[in-house]
Symmetry: C2
Subunit: 414 residues, 2 copies
């Protein structure tokens, strides 16, 4: 059965994965979302996610930006990534570019969550999302954490998901049942954001919960591989955020074990892969004013050229504007390839759009332009580029460039 | 005296440079522009520039794209860059991504210009600008070259300048008198385009003429240095064209010599520098819908980090949209820095906008937001970034991101 969550043809949903109505957390989890006053609107802005085991394991991935927010530094340096019991998240303020005082506030946030939950500070991950360069009001956050810790319930997933959102146009969450050989497990996730698309707002966040029993090494391995195939492959505007964080928590409460190098590791891994890829695609689709999503696949190339070309095409404003306009404009793809590989000899590239070969060995091919124009007038458009050389295949998912993007990002919001 | 050409505060115009009304070519030059039918509108689309010496010297610079147009390959491989007598340019078709047949057409264009001018093929540079991936109609070009060669006059500069334009909103040309110690010389130039900003249209072209007498090595040295400080430092959308070409021709007809390592080499070089920088800034300002021009200067950094950061800031759609909106949004600059230097340790960057320090050592500084908002509501906005390390200072000029850019580039034009 497929429901409302899996919508992309670029996500392979394994037959052992069933989409459930969102809301119910896996066994062993409780969550809450409260309003602590960071958002002027009074909306939910503080989320708490708690895992009580019995066999806790976790894994984390962070942004690779050189300008990282205080909560990223604090979590990276002061939390045990393999044993995260509590995740505390605020929206409305990114606590980024806030200097030493920002670090103090992030540590205070971690301490408040640890104290109110009765766990050690190293069992708490903290995340922030919102405006950059403004000091976080630690008193509000502390009060919010205390409130939320008293409201934790197995039904708190929706409030948590709402509390982590900033200006997302729609929520990005899913609840899946994964049939393993040892029995069914539950896999849920809440994500927000789309890179750095918001005015002065940062952050892609994603929190994943399961009641399967995993060793921390297995959780780390699977999260690493699936993040590389999902959130690492998306681009709204080529802008890397200061706060991006992905946390996977496993409670083990189902009693079903995902052993290393077992068939169930493959099954669980593929389910996680489908979940994160579709979440990534939903984030791309939520790029402001986004009408279409493109996928560029590059085959061949030497010394990492494939990755460079894929990023250059995905982030070319000309290619993105053509995607928006439903224009199969391969000349722009050709120039993006050339610009990415500047200084090289002439490159004999191939380009196919929606399966139609438009350029072969660096020159125009014959094709039916009207038929191709029809093919690209759809929600998802597929581009395949061939380069000389034997590089691995690489792909990047990207949004189009719209008027709404300019409107939203040209407005002064502070 | 300053006229209509020098408009930017970022260009230092030496006191020995005087702006003249455009139109009159330096001694020893004749030009023409004709309509040969490549542009459906019937506008001028074929330009010829001829230098008759008596002491001919020249220099050329090309795009560094890996996807280069046929005329670039033909000129690079079959012309003597130091002895270019004739420049033949067509607009309306870039002759790029046109394969072997495109190379044949570019060679034919070179041959036609050589034959009709009575010079060797290696004395002819050919340039094309226009649509990518469509075969050039060589018969039209040949006929146009024959027509133009009969119309060459000392007054042909304006027609030549118009013939090289595609969708430029205004012409970009100048005529200067440069007072050298040996007497006055004339320096003129015609430029077009703005990178790859047009729908399926390529190319920045610039042609420079002088009646000063230079050795080819001096011409090459001065053109190389000044291109690096002008056309290499501009970005409309980070897109590198397939056809970019800059040609400097020196006739020597004034009898005034610019000797190597002389005071006049400095004087002439600084005049050429001002000319090309202002032309580059006019090109940025002609980026479709462009309202403001930004300059980002990066000081410090190690291992080329300054260049990477300057490009990342100049090409960030978030920074460009903020420039358009008159928004002094330094959080976006911070994230662009972080994204450019991903994987590094936290970076203690400084940011100043229009002289106001907004971030120090990676954290927000105190400043008057309202006053700064007023300062950035102008035609040119100045950003200065400081990085740890001792890298050289680097700068990039860039346009803003506007609705018109999206409109023009999302329209299907074939």
């Amino acid at each position: 059965m497929t429901g409302a969550f899996f919508t992309s043809r670029w996500v392979d949903v394994p037959e052992w994965v069933t989409e459930e109505p969102p809301g119910a957390l896996p066994q062993g989890f409780r969550a809450a979302g409260v309003a602590c006053g960071l958002k002027e609107s009074g909306s939910l802005d503080l989320g708490l996610m708690r895992c009580d085991g019995p066999d806790l394991a976790s894994a984390i991935r962070f942004t690779s930006s050189a300008v990282v927010a205080a909560p990223v530094l604090v979590t990276r340096d002061r939390a045990n990534a393999a044993q995260i019991k509590v995740v505390a998240v605020n929206s409305g303020n990114a606590n980024a570019a806030t200097g030493g005082r920002g670090l103090d506030e992030a540590a205070r946030m971690q301490g408040a969550a640890a104290m109110s939950s009765g766990v050690g500070e190293d069992a708490v991950a903290v995340c922030s999302t919102g405006v950059i360069g403004v000091q976080l009001d630690g008193r509000k956050v502390t009060r919010g954490i205390l409130d939320a810790s008293k409201q934790l319930t197995a039904e708190g997933e929706e409030a948590f998901a709402r509390a982590i959102m900033t200006t997302d146009a729609f929520d990005k969450r899913a609840s899946l049942t994964v049939e393993l050989t040892g029995g069914p497990v539950r896999l849920t996730a809440q994500a927000k954001g789309a890179g750095m698309i918001q005015p002065r707002f940062a952050t892609m966040l994603c929190f994943v919960q399961t009641d399967a029993k995993l060793e921390a090494e297995t959780a780390d391995l699977l999260l690493g591989v699936t993040v590389k195939r999902s959130f690492d492959r998306i681009s709204v505007d080529g802008q890397l955020s200061t706060n991006d964080t992905v946390v996977l928590q496993c409670s083990g409460a189902s009693g079903v074990t995902v052993a290393p190098e077992s068939e169930d590791e493959v099954r669980f891994g593929q389910a996680l892969d489908a979940l994160l890829r579709q979440l990534g695609l939903h984030i791309v689709r939520d790029g402001e004013g986004s009408k279409r999503v493109g996928r560029v696949t590059v085959r061949g190339g030497n010394h990492g050229a494939g990755e460079v070309v894929a990023r250059a095409v995905a982030n070319s404003p000309l290619v993105k504007a053509a995607l928006h306009g439903g224009d199969p404009n391969w000349g722009r793809i050709a120039q993006a390839i050339g610009g990415a590989l500047y200084g090289s000899a002439p490159i004999a590239f191939d380009i196919a759009i929606e399966g139609v070969q438009v350029a072969v060995a660096g020159a125009a091919a014959r094709f039916d332009e009207a038929a191709l124009a029809q093919l690209v007038d759809r929600d998802e458009v597929d581009y395949v580029i061939g380069l000389p050389g034997d590089g691995h295949e690489t792909e990047v998912f990207f949004s189009d460039l719209s008027h709404e993007y300019v409107t939203i990002n040209a407005e002064y919001t502070t």
